[in-house]
């Protein structure tokens, strides 16, 4: 079986991450409950006429994928695999409200077409003229990890050599409104520094797109080896320690081998205990990192975690803004990521310096 490498990254997020030459050099702070992605200059990548018709999710996905392709010095890829929790949710909202408001009359197809979950993946393929394998996973906080898993299997078996993968989700006004009602969004504003310490229910909602080229040949500028990914639909907190140990064992890695633990803590007092049980338990002596205070929470926010881990491994530097404890790794070779959302759809991802 061939090894799989992260060859390049492309990120659009609530931080200025679209410039690959930087690494969280300046932090965009906030005091809010919902934060938007920082737009790159879209017209540098997409003709303005086309961009006007595109949903933000499509624009973010297309540009993040272009950034990743550019960095990998590739014109095209063999396959495109996208993860998204809600797809182009703004268009879904537009079409549903138009159906109700206009009593099923005077509707136009654009928002219906864009609301289809695989629109971003389809548009990227259309833009590249990529006729290869094209899948879209839509499984909440494991949407992106499903893409990783799929790509990894194909590359290991050498069925193809380069796959573009990514996670993308956009904010929608109505979606935000109704998620406030059920306390999935924090009821009071919180600042970036205090996301984990608000002691309140819900999270800071956001959006973004993080794309990667995965390949099965190591390059001089590869970011990291993608060693393993495992996903779980459910995982009781009591079984978490055992599950992570089994995952590490399956990959011949011990807890002591982990240099940095990257966790998806989002400050939701109802669910952060999953993360806390690892940080105060098995991994208490390991350097810990968090990131959702930077990128906010959305179904594919964990793709930002992989972006962060990739950058940490490549630059061999942990920006102080993401440090969660005082432990400093003596070397950064093996990085473990753990994510879940609202106690469901857990994932472990293992990256290694290459």
């Amino acid at each position: 079986m061939k090894k799989v490498y992260i060859q390049s990254v492309g990120s659009i997020s609530a931080q200025k991450t679209f410039d690959n030459s930087e690494f969280l050099d300046e932090i965009s702070t906030y005091n809010d409950t919902v934060i938007s992605a920082i737009d790159p200059v879209y017209k540098d990548y997409i003709p303005p006429a086309a961009a006007r018709r595109m949903a933000k999710g499509i624009k973010m996905g297309v540009v993040a994928s272009k950034l990743a392709l550019e960095e990998a010095a590739l014109e095209n890829v063999d396959a495109i695999i996208t993860g998204t929790g809600l797809g182009c949710v703004v268009d879904s909202e537009k079409f549903v409200s138009a159906i109700i408001d206009n009593k099923e009359e005077f509707l136009t197809p654009t928002s219906f077409i864009q609301s289809t979950h695989n629109t971003v993946g389809g548009q990227i393929a259309l833009g590249l003229g990529c006729k290869g394998y094209n899948f879209t996973y839509v499984h909440a906080s494991n949407s992106f990890e499903s893409s990783v898993l799929d790509a990894k299997m194909q590359l290991e078996l050498d069925e193809v050599s380069n796959i573009l993968i990514g996670g993308v989700d956009e904010l929608g006004v109505h979606t935000v409104k109704i998620h406030r009602l059920i306390n999935h969004i924090k009821s009071t504003a919180v600042s970036l520094d205090n996301v984990l310490y608000s002691n309140t229910k819900g999270t800071v909602f956001s959006e973004g797109a993080n794309f990667f080229v995965l390949g099965n040949t190591k390059k001089d500028n590869s970011y990291a080896e993608l060693v393993a990914v495992d996903i779980f639909n459910t995982l009781a907190e009591g079984n978490l320690a055992e599950a992570v140990q089994q995952f590490l064992k399956d990959n011949n890695v011990s807890i002591e081998d982990i240099d940095v633990l990257v966790q998806g803590n989002n400050g939701d007092i109802e669910f952060d205990h999953y993360y806390n049980s690892l940080s105060t338990g098995l991994f208490s002596e390991i350097q810990q990192v968090y990131y959702k205070h930077l990128c906010g929470e959305f179904y594919t926010a964990s793709s930002f975690g992989v972006w962060l881990a990739s950058k940490i491994i490549k630059t061999q530097r942990v920006p102080s803004i993401v440090e969660l404890n005082d432990v400093k790794a003596s070397k950064i070779e093996t990085v473990l990521l753990y994510n879940q959302y609202r106690g469901e759809n857990h994932s472990f991802t293992l990256l290694r310096k290459c």
């Binding site: 393929a125 006729k131 094209n134 996973y137 909440a140 059920i182 996903i231 459910t234």
Partner: protein, 391 residues
């Protein structure tokens, strides 16, 4: 295998409707739409309350119709495979949906803001929620569970991904399929695209007027050789080949010559180590839209040329069940293999002008070894599966 569709609530009912030529297409009854008289649909008879009762759900449940249909079909599949201890082997679930919880979202969109009792459905909107519920109904815990949404090819892709998970050894057993319920969202969406027929859909007919939407769910249990051996299982069929390609032509329309569909069929044949002459029957996507049937027909001609076996579309029976279609038609393909039967392409009258190929219009008995099934969707997504009697 498990299935619930407009032509039956289980595998046996679906099969008898198929061989009796019994359509499940009618005027829509359960959705209050202004388009009622302008469209026809493949609707499942059971009401939501009947589905709730069948599943024994608590009154405070927040299941959308997609989740309930999916759970019913998936439970049938698990029972059909004689699985009593689901945790005995590493078992996953790959489901497909495009509608997800949209039926509740479109009903309560504004009511959510006023009525606290309805807010339980907010969490059920996203596509993955229906899959989580199906997994719960099956007792699948702490396992690999995910959802695929690639429009009308979704369930074919779920089967493909499941087959690859078994092949790679990630899972010993995987339940694969898809579910989609009817919704105002899809009725109005396809209406704006002007591809809904006002009468019975007529696949591959010169005068075809568009598709009938349908609702359905179907699931299949895939098991590794090791499980089959250890449990001394009877194998219904083998997933012999699979291929996915993108047309990269247009967001909703297929290319004139069916490039994507051609690539998908070629890939599937290659994976299966088969030649076009080895395929005994093609269950076509055949939605009865002007664009699909022309593009797919041309692709079939490109791949099969002189070796074209009988082909037919079963959409005239069930309507186009969107993300579920690939699983529905996988069940039909396997039933065809088991019974050595080719289903008629109902409602066909007039030969298409653009090419000479004609679908099978009568029920036909034929010794079948392999059946090829196409699923083509928005976003240029093209998938082909090949099922066979022998490994």
């Amino acid at each position: 295998m498990g299935i619930i569709s407009a032509i039956g609530n289980n595998v046996a009912e679906n099969y008898s409707a198929l061989i009796e030529g019994k359509k499940g297409i009618s005027r829509v009854a359960k959705i209050d739409t202004v388009h009622r008289d302008a469209i026809m649909v493949g609707e499942i008879a059971a009401s939501n309350q009947e589905l709730i009762d069948e599943l024994g759900l608590a009154p405070e449940n927040n299941y959308c119709r997609t989740a309930m249909l999916g759970a019913i079909a998936a439970k049938q599949a698990v029972a059909d495979a004689n699985i009593s201890a689901i945790k005995k082997y590493k078992t996953g679930l790959i489901s497909a949906t495009s509608v997800g919880g949209m039926d509740m979202t479109e009903r309560f969109y504004y009511d959510y803001l006023e009525d606290k009792n309805l807010q339980k459905y907010i969490e059920g909107h996203h596509a993955g929620d229906s899959t989580q519920k199906i997994a719960e109904q099956l007792g699948i815990e702490q396992s690999l569970v995910t959802t695929i949404s690639t429009a009308c090819s979704s369930a074919a892709n779920a089967i493909m991904f499941g087959a690859r998970l078994i092949k790679s050894g990630k899972l010993d057993r995987v339940i694969v399929g898809g579910a989609d319920c009817l919704s105002k969202f899809t009725i109005n969406g396809f209406k704006t695209l002007m591809i809904l027929s006002d009468t019975y859909n007529t696949p591959f007919d010169e005068n075809r007027k568009g598709l009938n939407l349908g609702e359905a769910a179907a699931f299949l249990v895939l098991e590794s050789n090791a499980v089959v051996k250890a449990e001394n299982k009877k194998v219904l069929a083998y997933v012999k080949g699979y291929g996915n390609a993108n047309d990269a032509f247009h967001q909703t329309a297929s290319s004139e010559n069916g490039d994507g569909a051609t690539l998908a069929m070629e890939k599937a044949l290659k994976v299966g180590g088969l030649l076009p002459k080895d395929i005994d029957y093609i269950n076509a996507h055949g939605t009865a839209t002007g664009n699909n049937d022309l593009s797919e027909g041309r692709a079939i001609l490109r791949v099969f040329g002189e070796n074209l076996p009988e082909f037919s579309s079963t959409k005239a029976y069930t309507g186009h069940t969107l993300a579920a279609a690939g699983a529905i038609e996988a069940v039909y393909a396997i039933l065809a293999l088991q019974n050595n039967i080719i289903y008629p392409n109902l409602n066909f009258k007039t030969q298409m002008k653009e090419f000479e190929i004609t679908p099978q219009t009568e029920l036909k008995e034929k010794e079948l070894e392999t059946v090829l099934s196409n699923s083509l969707g928005f976003g240029g997504n093209c998938s082909t599966l090949i099922f066979s009697k022998r490994a």
